[in-house]
């Protein structure tokens, strides 16, 4: 009996502790006497990037005692669930780090503040129109707006084992003279020998990668006529699909066992000399630099060229919620956080490309070390990914495109069948969103 009483006492104490802990949720202040407090939800996750974010917040807080920023770290994995809940409940963070595909949906539901006319000219002019395109969306009521400030972008480059390239006697491409897809196919064949493959295509999530690369041949996958968007898979869209498939099953220069891999999964094979080339986003260089065995000689190669070297791009963004309590202060903070020098720090921390033209000239982003020069140069060919403007893209991607492309790359269905599914089943999905 005594033991039960003790247990109940512990429960009461624990609950009381639970009730008293925390609960100091700041309501943002807003009175004249109290400084305004902004909650900044950041998705930085790499060590250097988190450090850069925190350092900038600290700098701001020191210089702006009346507008204090509270750094809240979120996670890419579940940020959109978290945000939808807080938007619906009317308690979103004051400054939101996310990416442009998420913004498309949020803006049409009226969750985000239209920043047109609110941003300082210096910030507007420092970021090129192609990047602003990635954050310009419909407001769901027939209007257009700018729903975030784009600040980091990613291009697809090739990470290469330099020793294997030299041994095969192939030309090392440069930003001014990149490999064409034909040259890439021939090099990959040359590099396929002694049990090693020329290339590994990690295609666990193939859709964005393929759609971004398809622009090399002018493939957009979507067309809009009379306000209605439909899927199209014509000769231009088929080029990249067919070429990757050929590497897998005709040339046999790509390892089919890499198809199920996530972006970073081919690295152990890359380091072991099993794959000579790995197509990857520029940020993967960080993991190569950190994990490569001593003496491993690697090089970043510029994006491939088809008819053009253009690639579809999305951006990481900072936004302000529509029903935020301190929009003006939030915009001021964003203007500071994303100025040229600060974007350079953030880009280095995340190993991504800054949208700021002044940041792109930072010596740290143009050095040859770790392929920064090649990566930064690739930004000039980034254009807004066409799928960003498509209502229903997320559903098309998860329900139609991902399984169809995975089956096509696994050689289970033909290109015609994959194209039929992308179009027929895809249009049914998009139809619902246009109603």
């Amino acid at each position: 009996m005594r033991r039960w009483s003790a247990a109940l006492a512990v429960a009461a104490v624990a609950l009381a502790a639970g009730c008293s802990s925390g609960g100091s949720g700041d309501d943002g202040g807003g009175t004249a006497a109290k400084p305004v407090t902004l909650r900044f939800l950041s998705l930085a996750w790499q060590k250097e990037s988190v450090a850069a974010n925190k350092q900038l917040v600290e700098e701001w807080n020191k210089a702006n005692p009346s507008i204090q920023v509270q750094y809240v770290q979120g996670s890419w994995d579940n940020v959109n669930d978290q945000l939808v809940t807080s938007f619906e409940a009317g308690d979103p963070p004051d400054v939101i780090h996310d990416d442009s595909p998420a913004l498309a949906g949020f803006s049409s539901r009226g969750y985000l503040l239209d920043l047109s006319g609110r941003l300082p000219a210096a910030l507007k002019n420092d970021i090129p129109p192609a990047a602003w395109d990635t954050v310009s969306f419909g407001d769901g009521k027939g209007g257009q707006g700018v729903y975030g400030v784009p600040f980091l972008q990613e291009s697809q480059v090739l990470l290469a084992n330099r020793k294997l390239l030299d041994k095969a006697g192939v030309r090392i491409p440069t930003p001014d003279s990149p490999w064409t897809w034909d040259e890439f196919a021939s090099v990959a064949k040359k590099l396929t020998k002694d049990g090693a493959y020329g290339v590994a295509w990690p295609m666990k999530s193939p859709v964005n990668k393929v759609l971004n690369l398809a622009l090399n041949f002018g493939g957009t996958f979507f067309t809009t006529t009379g306000g209605k968007t439909t899927v199209k898979v014509g000769p231009q869209e088929r080029e990249v699909l067919q070429r990757i498939h050929d590497q897998l099953y005709t040339d046999r220069s790509a390892d089919p066992s890499a198809l199920g891999m996530g972006t970073a999964d081919p690295l152990p094979g890359f380091f072991a000399g099993k794959y000579a080339l790995v197509p990857a986003g520029v940020y993967l260089r960080q993991q190569v630099a950190e994990q490569a065995p001593e003496g491993f000689d690697w090089v970043t190669l510029p994006p491939l060229k088809g008819v053009t070297a253009q690639q579809g791009a999305t951006s990481q963004t900072l936004s302000v919620p529509a029903d935020g309590k301190h929009p003006d202060e939030a915009v001021k903070f964003i203007a500071f956080f994303l100025n040229g020098p600060n974007q350079a720090k953030l880009a280095k921390g995340d190993w991504l490309l800054p949208t700021s033209t002044s940041a792109a000239t930072d010596p740290g982003l143009t050095t040859g070390e770790n392929g920064w020069d090649v990566a930064t140069a690739s930004a000039k060919d980034l254009v807004v990914a066409p799928y960003l403007k498509v209502n229903g893209f997320d559903e098309w991607k998860s329900k139609v495109a991902t399984p169809a492309l995975q089956e096509y790359f696994a050689n289970k269905i033909s290109l015609d069948e994959a194209a039929r599914r992308l179009v027929d089943e895809g249009n049914k999905v998009l139809e619902r969103y246009s109603q």
């Binding site: 502790a17 802990s21 996670s75 994995d77 978290q82 152990p268």
Partner: protein, 272 residues
Amino acid sequence: MRTGLKYLALAGYVVFLAFPLVWLLSTALKTPREMAALHPALIPRHPTLANFADAFTEQDLVGGGLRSLVVAVAAAVVTVALALPAAYALARRPGVLNRVAIGWVLVSQVFPVILVVIPLFMVLRRLELVNTLAGLTLVHVTFVMPFALWMLRGYVRAVPREVEEAAAVDGAGRLRSLASVVAPLLAPGVVATLLFSFISSWNEFLFALVVLKDPEVATLPLTLVRFTGPEGVARLGPLAAASLLATVPSLLFFAVIQRRLRSGLMAGAVKG
């Protein structure tokens, strides 16, 4: 010979169960280079504590752990305190209402959690419990309660009515019979339910993500996820180190109360 085989099978089972934990330990002690080896080794060649140092310096693991502990202990104790009398009533008082109640408890389990997150958040906000550990505890109690109720109902039903009748014949009143006869027999069931409730609350992520806004109140699962990036890429070393540390309280809790779990439920209850 048969005993030897039995021990061999048991040893195999233990290795099977322990392997994920051992692999977690191994990963936590590896350098980034070793983690990227084509043929990863179980025993790190150059063991390092750098991942633990990174995990501790970059995230508030201790604070997150303490807050998780407060929430999990409170949720477990309150859940059992509320579920036990309800389970007893449901097990001992058959009837239509009872069956409806049990059915409803079961049906409540089929709702996807994501459906109730937004309304729940709004209710908590009206109660001014958003961003508080008390709010999260309340949510955990609500969501663990149905299963805890089912578990405890099963344990109560396993206690023969004859035991209570015998106590009544010996002159014990209702309360005395419950406290001195039924409660000790239910102890292993209560402990198992406490353990289940504690672990459910300790590991819970989605509600914590939605209810807790400020870093000062973040629980451990929220802290762990910060080592992951987009497209499933993660900082495996610090994540493994932090995850390993996060399993320690559960293991300790289990070690402390496992003797109670092992003791026979009905040992000596009814004299033959």
